[in-house]
Point group: C3
Chain length 424, copies 3
């Protein structure tokens, strides 16, 4: 149940989840959590239809068995069995014979990407529809067509799950992934796979780590509504999405803009191809965690962000769009970020007048005059110089431009030599 | 008396004022205020010679009827009737016959711009002089010349005028234009014309708008001396000058540097060709309004600024130098700036825990999954996210990079839906 | 004893000090202070071996008379008499016959700079060694060699010296130079020469100036240990090093980052080719002065900084590497920096409402309309506008981008006119 997952293993998890027809409620979502549960122990929550959650209400549960548009010859021109993107999420049931003109208001295409099928939903307004490629639409005759969506909308429940890795303290790091998208690999099966891999790699962490697998928007709102008393424990948070495409890593700051998570992520990404974006109230569930009533320190880690790649929310976001190497790279960055959160401490230099003589403590080269001072020695000088009880290792890393790990090691050596005292 | 003036109408006003011989006192100044008064109701103030105003004293009043340098043939080589720039402002009367050598200390030219006549004054040191082009001087023989300045310097008064548009509150926006320059179109008949146009376009504003038409330096000082008790009402101020040349718009910050007027102007100009300059204690009457005893939030709006164009303070600053299009563009920017000042408010999001469900209130598209979110929806999300009672719409505009008008409209929609409360 | 030293005079001082074999203790150091003492009255301190200074202990005193590696023919292959760099500083005595293979662990070369001899020391770990060029090493046969270092390590004392120029106040400016390097001209005979020149040029300064000539690290630590009660008097400090190479000037900020010395140096360097570097806890004795217990406002002025030139800590740092022009340029910048520290004051504008009428006080041109306002007038306007008791001339220089000297002159003129009052 623990250890480092490879990129190939993460990609295999993405591939296994890919065919399931997820939505914000329903059996596809439950099946998804079931697969995750094979990798991590999960606590699964079911919240009944009609429950008031903050300003929202849990909707009816949606399930679908089949859907198609069949032409006069009996051929399925559009077929849910080939791709669950073909049906607008939360479509009402329909069974009718219609001409193309009658059907047309219910058909969604991407005229500028004629080979791709769009992803569309209508959770909160009752309707039905099909998504198809422009090429398919262009080839359709006048009809009539047999139009079937074999779905149900009925009282039931909304499902979400949590996995908690207990830490030495009750301070929490929270990682949230939306799990409501059907066959879209990068958005967000890749995020789920990286979150699973992170959870499995944590060993006796200092912080408690809480992983939330919940449908977008309503899932985060439901969790917040049911956990209002405990949100104060969340010291650092991340939404994790679009974690497997080939683009560079992107960090979007929290609403606060300079929370520790913002600084840790910025520090880690500095050495890699990346972008850091300011907070915006649009995107993934950081929208909810960063709403002004909660204002939690939640950033968002992605590769190419929300709506910034042509395959976004289309059938182009498939298993080839996500690569094992990218998944591994995202996991590596994420582990470096949590490494900073885990290792950050504030110290007091106990020999603050002048430099302590490191040489007689075996911490400094005895041969002087050389110009190639080692990083380890620089790291000790930085930690000693700035450790006045007000600056943490993260502060020192930002100012010194040395790797956090080198400063962490320097602090350990100085602690062992009795030159530092931990103060926070 | 109200409605939008066109660029052509503003240019016509510039043209009508152009021939008048203005100075810091005298009948040319009164005639100028008379013309402005045909467009706006004015309160005209006369302050007697000798009145102490702050560190200064109202000087004697200067009036001039004629002036020339006539050669032996009786030809006016330099003639006040052709251009009032030909006489140094506040020249004492003179009537004498002089050789060119005797005249020369009283002649001002621009050797590097040999076709242009400079603008010169000597308000506070008694002297007399003529301004002429270098070409004219080069063509002058040894003389003798008949030299006449038919002027008077006598006790009288300094004249300035105010136009006030009462607002819903006593908080004032003050627009100040210097009105003391003779035939210089851009500096500052253009500023006067744009101020008149702004005043005429204001309808039931929130702020009270005070327009000051006064001679440079001494006029602003006189107004400040006579209004020391009321300067606290001025929440935002602008000096308006050089408003009609073809250069890009320029905003010079107030001494405070980040006053609301500075931020509103910067925001409005961001979308246009422009420059924003830091405060300097040199320029127009912001020098007085931003003196440390008053430290009023006064910026300066111009096109090409003070002394930055070759025609500055020369006969080249004529009616062709100012264009209707530039006047209109300045007015448009100025109205956008006052629009921000008028529309800026601070709100409290009444549903701050998570996002309120905009969809069921008809404020959000029902079809999900699309990546082309509309500006109006983004604007609502920004207003909701940042409206915690501490940030105004101007703050939100700066942070979101959305147009102020879009945020204003979003706030109105959210107010109508009961999701916001105004707090400031 | 006073007056401006020329670049040639400073270079002559460097040349005179160059041959002496300095270390952190010993007679070469004493001789160096003796030469400096011919230019400046010095107080010389001797601190006995074994004295505890902060976390350190004064080491034994090291003296050396001769050292060589002699081949079978009796030729000195490596000869201390040709360059004192050939012996590792603080080498124990040795007298032995050894093969090249036995010698090799005691030989230091620079393989990538094969013609240069490195500078190496081993103050705090007992060993011995020779430094030589890679070319010399490559030409050496298998041996045997006669190996002699005629040195002594014995109880004695550490020597340092101070020169103090008393000021009108007890507030101190401290200039510190390390004096422990043997034949390295730029690092730091050049710094010593510029410090001497500065000291000689000071005439009745406002601040008290303290010049410290001490061995690196242990010298600064010794001074700090013996002056803990008086460090509070140090308002501004500089370590001065590498002051004579042809590179541009470099200022390294203090740990505080925005101390007055940081701002004065930045201001002065702005008009010259230069670099400003952030603080790092590595470099010269600012490491000690800026340790967190003291946190003194000590910057570092160099030309090419610490370890950034190929000749650094090699025989290439010789008398040709340092030029009279560079020494003069460093002195000029240093005097401009102390000029800012000397001249900085805070004033209150006594006529803060509007501009005072400078014209009637003879401080302003009487002819108006000109666009070529003089720097002197701009400087007066800036001083009047910002002198509200909270901003010093240094603040005004930073904001106005005018030369500090122009603002100093403007303040003097305004003081004479009764328009300012000194407040700090």
């Amino acid at each position: 149940m623990s250890g480092q997952m490879t990129g190939a293993e993460m990609h295999a998890l993405v591939a296994r989840l890919y065919p399931l027809c997820r939505s914000i409620t329903g059996d596809g979502l439950r099946a998804t959590l079931g697969v995750i549960g094979e990798h991590l122990p999960l606590t699964v929550h079911e919240v009944p239809t009609g429950t008031q959650v903050l300003d929202w209400t849990i909707p009816q549960e949606w399930n679908i068995r089949d859907a198609y548009i069949k032409d006069a010859s009996g051929r399925r021109v559009v077929d849910f069995r080939r791709s669950n993107l073909h049906v607008v999420g939360y479509s009402e049931p329909v069974s009718a014979t219609m001409t193309l003109d009658e059907l047309r208001p219910h058909l969604h295409t991407l005229p500028e990407q004629p080979d791709l099928v769009p992803y569309r939903t209508s959770y909160y307004a009752r309707t039905w529809g099909f998504c198809l490629s422009q090429r398919t639409l262009d080839a359709m005759g006048d009809g009539p067509y047999e139009v079937v969506i074999d779905s149900t909308l009925a009282d039931g429940s909304l499902t979400y799950a949590e996995h908690v890795v207990p830490g030495q303290t009750g301070d929490e790091v929270m990682i949230s992934c939306h799990v409501c998208h059907p066959s879209l690999a990068n958005d967000n099966l890749a995020g789920i796979a990286v979150a699973v891999a992170l959870a499995r790699s944590l060993e006796r962490p200092r912080h408690t780590y809480r992983f939330l697998f919940a449908p977008g928007t309503i899932g985060a709102i439901t969790w917040l509504a049911r956990n209002r008393e405990r949100v104060g424990r969340i010291k650092h948070g991340l939404t994790l999405a679009c974690a497997g495409d080939s683009g560079r890593l992107t960090y979007k700051r929290s609403r606060r803009g300079d929370a520790a998570i913002d600084r840790a992520a910025t520090l880690v990404l500095k050495g890699r191809p990346h972008r850091v974006l300011p907070f915006t109230p649009y995107g993934y569930d950081e929208r909810q965690f960063c709403s002004p009533g909660f204002d939690l320190p939640f950033g968002s880690l992605t590769r190419t962000p929300y709506a910034q790649y042509p395959e976004y929310h289309t059938s182009g976001d498939d298993l080839d769009f996500v690569t094992p190497a990218a998944l591994e790279d995202t996991l590596d960055a994420l582990q470096a970020i949590t490494g900073v959160l885990e290792g950050d401490r504030t110290y007091l230099n106990l020999s603050p007048y002048g430099e302590p003589q490191l040489g007689r403590r075996g911490l400094y080269d005895s041969l002087g005059g050389r110009s190639d001072t080692k990083q380890a020695q620089l790291a000790m000088l930085w930690v000693l110089n700035l450790s006045d009880g007000s600056k943490s290792l993260l502060d020192i890393a930002e100012r010194s431009d040395l790797p956090f790990a080198a400063l962490r090691a320097a602090a350990d050596a100085l602690l062992a030599a009795g030159l530092l005292k931990e103060t926070g």
